[in-house]
């Protein structure tokens, strides 16, 4: 294996997973679209790409935290819809915005608590939560409607110092995630817990004296809060509450994380990889829209991509 292909596919000697390959794929898609369609390089389309990709980037970054420790959160899609519904309840922004994050933290805590205390498989626990939240959301807002506080709209749609707001959202998201993942003991412990799980010694990190349960719960809280952040962003874009806006978002987020080189078994992955994975997904969606691929077929294609990425992963399990 040449040094180049090793860097592209495995990064042996790192726990970042393969992220250069998806970067090339992202560039290839962009290149293909600029030749294939006239609209892609159009200024308006490019300007739209960032806000289009932003909710997925935010959700995927949150999802990455639980995937790193070998878990999964299927409730983020419902969490997004639920957030828009709460924001559209009517009320001042300074009440509603903190409220959605408190609620998200509560949901994440419940997920983590059920998983760690009652030993429920993360897929089952968060799938149940997905349904529970979906039901509550539909009670609050059966069809899309209502209006969100003006402040939400202005922090999403406006601009500051001539720079469009979504750019600040991106910077904020990455800064917070970077600090949590690389600038804290918590981040290292996440990798440690995931590394133990994926190498088959569940208690490895625990035996090192790490408070594994607390860290797992915290990761689910973080994941839910990032989903709520994405929900606030989307609410500002659509200006109303929508029970279906987050539908299947968990699938997109998990696919983005997997494309970005994270191992779904835990312990391997990176922040930049996840962002690249989300960009690949956003470019694909943009390209499929521009080339008039039916939205129904798009869903099928996304599912196939997730399957493909995961199938490629399991062959070289630890990828270390």
């Amino acid at each position: 294996m040449t040094a180049l292909s090793r860097r592209l596919t495995g990064a042996r000697g790192s726990r970042q997973g393969m992220w250069m390959l998806p970067l090339l794929i992202a560039l290839a898609i962009a290149l293909w679209l600029s030749f294939e369609t006239a609209q892609f390089l159009n200024g308006e389309n490019l300007l739209n790409l960032v806000p289009q990709a932003m909710p997925l980037i935010i959700t995927a970054v949150g999802q990455m935290f639980v995937i790193l420790l070998g878990g999964l959160d299927l409730s983020v899609g419902s969490m997004i819809s639920f957030t828009t519904a709460v924001l559209a309840l009517g009320g001042p922004g300074w009440v509603l915005i903190p409220a959605v994050f408190v609620l998200a933290a509560l949901v994440g805590f419940t997920n983590g608590f059920i998983i760690t205390r009652f030993n429920v498989h993360p897929i089952i626990a968060t799938l149940s939560m997905q349904y529970i939240l979906l039901g509550i959301t539909r009670v609050l807002r059966p069809v899309s409607g209502g209006t969100v506080p003006d402040v939400v709209i202005s922090i999403v749609a406006g601009s500051f110092l001539g720079v469009p707001m979504p750019v600040f959202w991106g910077i904020f998201t990455l800064a917070v995630a970077w600090k949590l993942l690389y600038g804290s003991r918590f981040g290292l412990h996440l990798f440690a817990i995931g590394g133990g799980v994926s190498s088959g010694v569940e208690d490895a990190a625990h035996n090192f004296g790490i408070a594994d349960r607390r860290n797992i719960v915290l990761a689910y809280v973080i994941c839910a809060c990032f989903a709520a952040l994405a929900g606030v962003f989307l609410a500002g874009r659509i200006v109303s509450g929508d029970p279906n806006v987050g539908l299947l978002f968990e699938l997109d987020a998990i696919t983005a994380v997997a494309i970005g080189g994270s191992q779904l078994s835990g312990g391997i992955g990176s922040l930049h990889g996840t962002v690249i994975g989300a960009l690949v997904m956003a470019l694909l969606a943009n390209g499929m829209n521009l080339t008039n691929v039916s939205p129904f077929i798009q869903t099928t294609i996304k599912g196939a991509i997730l399957l493909l990425v995961v199938a490629l992963q399991s062959r070289k399990k630890m990828g270390l």
């Binding site: 000697g13 690389y182 003991r185 290292l188 035996n207 090192f208 790490i210 630890m318 270390l320």
Partner: protein, 503 residues
Amino acid sequence: MSDIRKAFAGTAALKGVSITLQSGSVHALMGENGAGKSTLMKILAGVHQPDSGSIQREGRQVVFHKPKDALEAGISTVFQELSLLPNLTIAENMFLGREPVTAFGGVDHRRMRREAGKALAELGLALDPGTLVSRLSIAERQFVEIAHGIMTEASVFILDEPTAALNAADVEVLNRHIRRLKDEGKAVVYISHRMDEIFAICDTVTVLKDGELVSTRPVAAMTPASLIAMMVGRELADLFPQRGDAPGPVVLAVEDFRITERSRPFSLSLSRGEIVALAGLEGQGQQRFLRSLVGQYYPFAGHATIKGKPLPLPVPPGGGVRRLQAMGVGFVPEDRKEDGLFLGLSVAHNIAAALHSKRPELALAAGYQRLIAETMSSLAVKAGSPNAAVGTLSGGNQQKVLLGRYLCADIDILLVEEPTRGVDIGAKSEIYRLLRDFAGKGGAVLVLSRETVELIGLCDRICVVHNDTIVKEMPAADATEHNILDAALSANGEAHGARGEHR
């Protein structure tokens, strides 16, 4: 630690053991496999919680709910199983759980690397502390684990078989550091099967047997022979059936078998009417050998012949057990609850499982009631009815059901792991009788067990396995626990030297 008791799933692992550790002293913990050494140390390290008994530290009673509690009380452990995290670097592993932080609350990677590099250098290891553990060899990993355990501020150090993967030169480095800890007034617990190490560095030795304390003595007052005698010292109970007559034709032959790339090749043959044992210390390759015959392990090289037909190696893991069964070989795994039985299903279903596995997948399930009833009565399975769930039976009866599955399925070679683990004494002798009857009817049995006494009493021939190869073969009639342990431990020295040259 006083009067520590612990049971796993109803089987007592420790039956009231007390031990006192003194600062400035190295305390050896010895005993045969399954004597309870590791369990005792895992309780001290907070991994397991004792069922009863107490731990006093400097006169005060302490309770460890989790490993973190023990670490905070100044007890540092090098575990027997390698438990480093492969996706973390050496430095991160060494500081995991006690990472230094910078002024901004982040992990101080630079300091971690610097200090880890210093610790590695002190152990004579030229490794970059930024290397991922997954890239290290087994011996290097063991050294990192040792470095993690002993390069820390603690007052009690537990080393559970730290030298299993090390060569002589590395062991000397470790011994030097253990002496340093001793001079610094720390208390060290040292578990090892290597006599030379015990006599080189330990001050006191405690011997455990079957979860009970045999004795605690100063090492100076002991000789290797008297130590082995203390570890063994047990009479052969009158449990075992009469041995068989002269064996018949060979049914299973293994030649030039190498379990790993570095292990010496060996041969083994098994004849009709014969029970052959794989004895030795735990984890020396007995299980890897047995499991490579059914496709649960990839051996490095070798030829195997079953009843004159060659068995291509490696056996594929997917259908290995099934293919072997078609050749008349049954495999009884060690862990009957995890690997052997369907605990939720009835006795009848469990017995018939092997019969069903021979028939086409979509064939209607046959009843087999008569066969099941016969098997149950010939094995004297104590169950309410054939419909009782296996999980509700006692360990001995569960084991009989598992054996019954193969005995009624037209099998003539049995590969058995741990035939009587967690089984009471009465059921043990019944199981021995069943295996002997099976051999008497022309079957052949290859058995491995941690209990040497059982192998001596049950088998016709004993193969002592050490370092992934058979180091000695002896007729069971001449074998004693002493000379089996001796064969394994003296082979230890040889292989030890050979590996040293290897480096």
